[in-house]
């Protein structure tokens, strides 16, 4: 019994110990299951305070990175002058340690001017020089003129045609088949190369022909003339008449070529050289003009100072991403178009107020499930979710007051921004956010416990900017804010394509709308110019049939040309007499005299006149005689016609 009790006690003990072990294991598992961003029992995400070694390493990294070409404003005086503004200089001119000597000098030299200027976007001394301005605007004017020159034929074709009598077409082309000509070389550069090769080989006639071809096709390419096989040099010169100087040069060249082609002259080396010296300036002049137009653009585009990468500007984030990456943190741009955050992302950095509502809902949902989010400035969505906003103009004139932390050294953090956070609850309350940094009692950075995760909100985004990280201990503070390197850091903003759901919005956010529209217009103009059919090409329908009257008129013209008046009278007289007899005969054949009487009675004409007319018609019908084209015959026809109509004939 004792054994059984002992066994039972032992089993209970074992069960209890197993239970205890189980509970312990469960507790351990749960503790690991909590997102790493949460410290047990803490209302702030994990931070990574920098020790001495880390601080020294950070210092070296900063020195190296600010000396690089990406942050030219730090060491290049001209670039610094272009980029300095009130916000930047407010950061730079603090007593905190400076790492951008050029920017510090630029701000010191012109701060008074900046302060007096009411605009925060004030710039000074940014123009590279008067010559650069002239070149730039001159190049733009030339480019505009070139575009206009290209579009002019299209605009002319749109103009309404003058009110002139349209000439009929030239009629159908001759039906005689022509032998197809071999294709002719039309590339100007190739023709010039052929000419040079032929000249070097002593084939001067070929060289002359190639030079002539190069000149003609160059003029055609520049749309100064229309090149066609049936056009002569005289036609081309007439087309060039609006440009008399060019026409004179071209005329000289044409004359030289014609002397070889049709005249007594032989193609010689001297003639080739003479032609070469005449034609080359014309042909290459166009290339030179193009180069002159493009050159200022290339000059402006040269050099690191002309870099337009926004990440390299004073408020860019090149330094932040570089520092994080060098510390083993993967930094990735996220669009969040699918509404989900990548599994390996452990932290999000959300920029600006232009992030779309769809992205905000994704971010906040992710934070609620345990994610860590840092937001550079509050937005409407964030205000609704966390009841936090920013306000006012409260520039901080000294280093920020930081929340207590376990650091060996205190940090001097300078906030260039002029706003403060308006927090939802009074500080110190249970649901109140933790204030990370403040200035004169106003919160500048606060961390909210949101669901299972955390959202750290900054009042001003400038803290993360390049210039801000070069001042004081801002870089150390920011690195601490991001915490230890674990998982990827996702950057989210309108410039990352921040979750837009339509391609048009994505284009708009990327600033490409104007470019896409311009490309579309160029494409349309190109196809319009080339004459591409925008629909099914249709031939104009031919007039399949002619009116009977046209045939009659054609027949009449033939008669008239042949002077066959008598013949026409003979035919018409026979017809007219037949009709009159049918109309008045009442079935019985009428003699001429009787017919004349009936017709005279019906039409009111004098019987004698009718008789004379019918007699003449009868004679013509019986025996027309030789044709002399006498006008009297036509008059007889007209008179017969007048007899037919009043008596009820066809009109």
């Amino acid at each position: 019994m004792r054994l059984a009790f002992a066994r039972r006690s032992c089993m209970v003990s074992v069960r209890r110990s197993r239970l205890a072990l189980g509970f312990a294991a469960l507790a351990a598992a749960l503790s690991f299951a909590v997102p790493a961003s949460a410290e047990e029992g803490s209302s702030e995400p994990p931070r990574a305070p920098l020790d001495v070694d880390a601080r020294e390493r950070l210092e070296r990294d900063l020195s190296r990175l600010v000396a690089g070409p990406e942050l030219a404003f730090c060491h290049d005086a001209t670039e610094a002058m272009r980029r300095a503004n009130r916000e930047v200089c407010r950061v730079v001119l603090t007593n905190a340690r400076q790492r951008c000597p050029a920017m510090a000098r630029a701000c010191s030299a012109h701060f008074a001017e900046l302060e007096s200027n009411g605009s925060d976007e004030a710039r000074f001394g940014q123009v590279p020089g008067a010559l650069g301005s002239i070149l730039f605007w001159g190049a733009l004017v030339l480019l505009g003129a070139a575009v206009l020159r290209f579009l002019w034929p299209l605009l002319e074709s749109l103009a309404p045609a003058p009110d002139v009598v349209q000439k009929p077409s030239a009629g159908p082309s001759p039906t005689e088949p022509t032998t197809p000509r071999p294709p002719q070389e039309s590339d100007v550069e190739r023709l010039l190369a052929q000419a040079e090769r032929a000249r070097n080989e002593g084939r001067f006639e070929h060289a002359v022909a190639a030079l002539y071809g190069a000149l003609v096709h160059f003029l055609g390419r520049e749309q100064l003339i229309t090149v066609e096989p049936a056009r002569t040099n005289g036609d081309y010169l007439r087309e060039l008449s609006p440009q008399p100087e060019l026409a004179a040069s071209v005329r000289q060249a044409f004359r030289s070529v014609e002397r070889v082609q049709f005249g007594h002259s032989e193609a010689t080396a001297e003639l080739c050289s003479e032609l070469w010296s005449r034609i080359l300036p014309i042909v290459k002049g166009g290339v030179a003009l193009l180069a002159l137009v493009l050159l200022p653009h290339t000059l402006i585009g040269c050099g690191p100072r002309a870099s337009l990468n926004p990440e390299s500007l004073p408020n860019g984030h090149h330094l932040l991403t570089k520092l994080l990456r060098e510390r083993g943190r993967e930094v990735r741009h996220l669009a969040l178009s699918t509404g989900e955050v990548d599994d390996d992302v452990s932290q999000l950095l959300v920029f600006g107020r232009d992030t779309s509502p769809e992205v905000w809902s994704t971010v906040l949902a992710w934070a609620e499930e345990g994610g860590s989010v840092i937001v550079t400035e509050p937005s409407e969505e964030l205000t609704r979710a966390l009841h936090v906003d920013r306000e006012g103009s409260f520039a901080c004139t000294h280093a920020l007051e930081l929340a207590p932390r376990a650091l060996a050294q205190s940090l001097t953090v300078i906030d260039a921004g002029a706003r403060r956070l308006r927090l939802p609850d009074a500080p110190g309350s249970k649901s109140a956010p933790r204030v990370e940094a403040s200035c004169d009692g106003s919160a500048r950075i606060a961390t909210f416990h949101y669901g299972e995760g955390y959202v750290t909100v900054l009042a001003n985004p400038e803290l993360f900017g390049n210039i801000s990280l070069t001042v004081g201990d801002n870089a150390a503070f920011v690195l601490e804010l991001f915490g230890p390197p674990r998982g990827a850091l996702g950057l989210v903003g309108s410039w990352t394509g921040g979750g837009v759901t339509s391609p048009l919005r994505a284009l708009q956010n990327a600033g490409l709308s104007a470019l896409m529209l311009e490309l579309l217009v160029v494409l349309l103009v190109f196809f319009w110019h080339r004459g591409a059919a925008f629909g099914i090409p249709r031939d104009p329908s031919d007039l399949a049939r002619r009116a009977f009257a046209d045939h009659v008129r054609a027949l009449g013209r033939s008669y008239a040309r042949a002077k066959a008046n008598r013949h026409a009278l003979s035919q018409y007289a026979g017809f007219a007499l037949e009709v009159l007899r049918e109309r008045f005969g009442r079935g019985a054949p009428l003699s001429l005299i009787d017919l004349a009487g009936e017709v005279a009675r019906r039409t009111g004409e004098r019987e004698g006149e009718v008789m004379r007319l019918l007699t003449e018609a009868h004679e013509a019908a019986q025996d027309p005689g030789p044709d002399h084209g006498h006008p009297a015959d036509l008059q007889t026809i007209e008179k017969l016609e007048t007899l037919l109509y009043p008596s009820g004939g066809p009109q």
Binding site: K167, A170, P174, T175, N233, G234, F262, R546
Partner: protein, 319 residues
């Protein structure tokens, strides 16, 4: 005379005539080229455009004899060629030359005379001689006939038959002068210009000079490609669907002669395709017969020639 001298002389002649005949530079050029090519001209234009004045000016500056024949329905052939007239005093017949015996003859409104009279002149143009009563008499050299037609009137006219039209080297259509030219003409008139008195015109040439210029035509080279070009153009008139009758080989010769004359005018000793193309209309338009249907549509000979020139490849082109 070399080519440059001929060209310079022609340009001077043209400028001198243009002092009086304002706004008809193309007509003057065509006329001088016709003279150079030893051909006769048919000028079509409404009255009042200066056709008679042109010929009179031409005669004056060239130093050639000039006669005008006004064609009327009752004009007889002998009125043109001349006839043998019995002289009672001498007791024999003597030939009285007609107005055709001049170096420049203006046959005004040639389509008003009957065919028999037209033929008398046309025969003289072709043969450059006149046969009266079995005796042939040569016409003077140079000999140029400028016949005119009024395109407006058709009543009481005797249009030249197509076969006879072929004898004219060029058919020129004279149009109204430009506004500026007409204004200048009025200013000349106000300044006292008298169209009947051409004494102000300078005589720049002579009979021998003109003959020498005509001989200079032989120095103008014609490449074989140009001959092919002329042949192509004329051949295409014979297969054109809008034409009943195309141009004859006489037209090819005419086009060749005129192209050479034009090359001389430009101061060249060789013919270019542009010389041929620029005179194709004047040479061919009166030698083509349109289909009635084409005529109904408003197609003209010039339209057909435009189409042929567009389809004929120019020699030496690189297109």
């Amino acid at each position: 005379m070399n080519v440059e001298e001929v060209s310079a002389t022609l340009k001077r002649l043209s400028a001198e005539i243009a002092r009086v005949l304002v706004g008809q530079d193309t007509l003057i050029e065509h006329t001088l080229i016709g003279l150079l090519a030893r051909g006769h001209l048919l000028i079509e234009g409404v009255p009042g455009l200066g056709k008679t004045l042109l010929v009179r000016c031409l005669g004056r500056v060239l130093g050639l004899s000039f006669r005008r024949i006004q064609f009327t329905p009752d004009l007889m052939p002998s009125d043109v060629t001349g006839s043998n007239v019995y002289s009672e005093a001498e007791g024999r017949f003597s030939f009285v030359p007609g107005p055709v015996f001049a170096q420049l003859v203006l046959a005004d409104e040639i389509n008003r005379a009957p065919a028999k009279t037209q033929s008398a002149l046309l025969e003289a143009m072709q043969d450059r001689s006149v046969t009266v009563d079995g005796e042939t008499r040569a016409l003077p050299a140079p000999f140029l006939v400028l016949a005119t037609q009024n395109p407006v009137e058709s009543q009481g006219t005797y249009p030249l038959p197509e076969a006879q039209l072929d004898r004219f080297l060029l058919k020129l259509e004279v149009r109204h002068p430009t506004r500026q030219a007409e204004a200048n003409m009025l200013k000349n008139y106000l300044a006292g210009f008298d169209p009947t008195d051409l004494g102000a015109l300078t005589v720049l040439s002579s009979e021998s000079h003109v003959l020498e210029m005509q001989r200079a035509l032989g120095e103008v080279r014609v490449a074989s490609e140009i001959l092919d070009y002329i042949t192509d153009i004329v051949q295409r008139t014979r297969s054109h669907p809008a034409l009943t009758l195309g141009a004859s080989p006489r037209a090819s010769i005419a086009l060749l002669c005129v192209a050479r004359a034009r090359a001389l005018w430009e101061g060249r000793d060789f013919v270019t395709p542009d010389d041929v193309k620029s005179y194709a209309h004047a040479v061919l338009r009166h030698r083509l017969l349109l289909q009635p249907d084409a005529e109904l549509e408003g197609t003209t000979a010039d339209h057909c020639i435009d189409g042929i020139l567009r389809d004929t490849v120019v020699p030496g082109t690189s297109a």
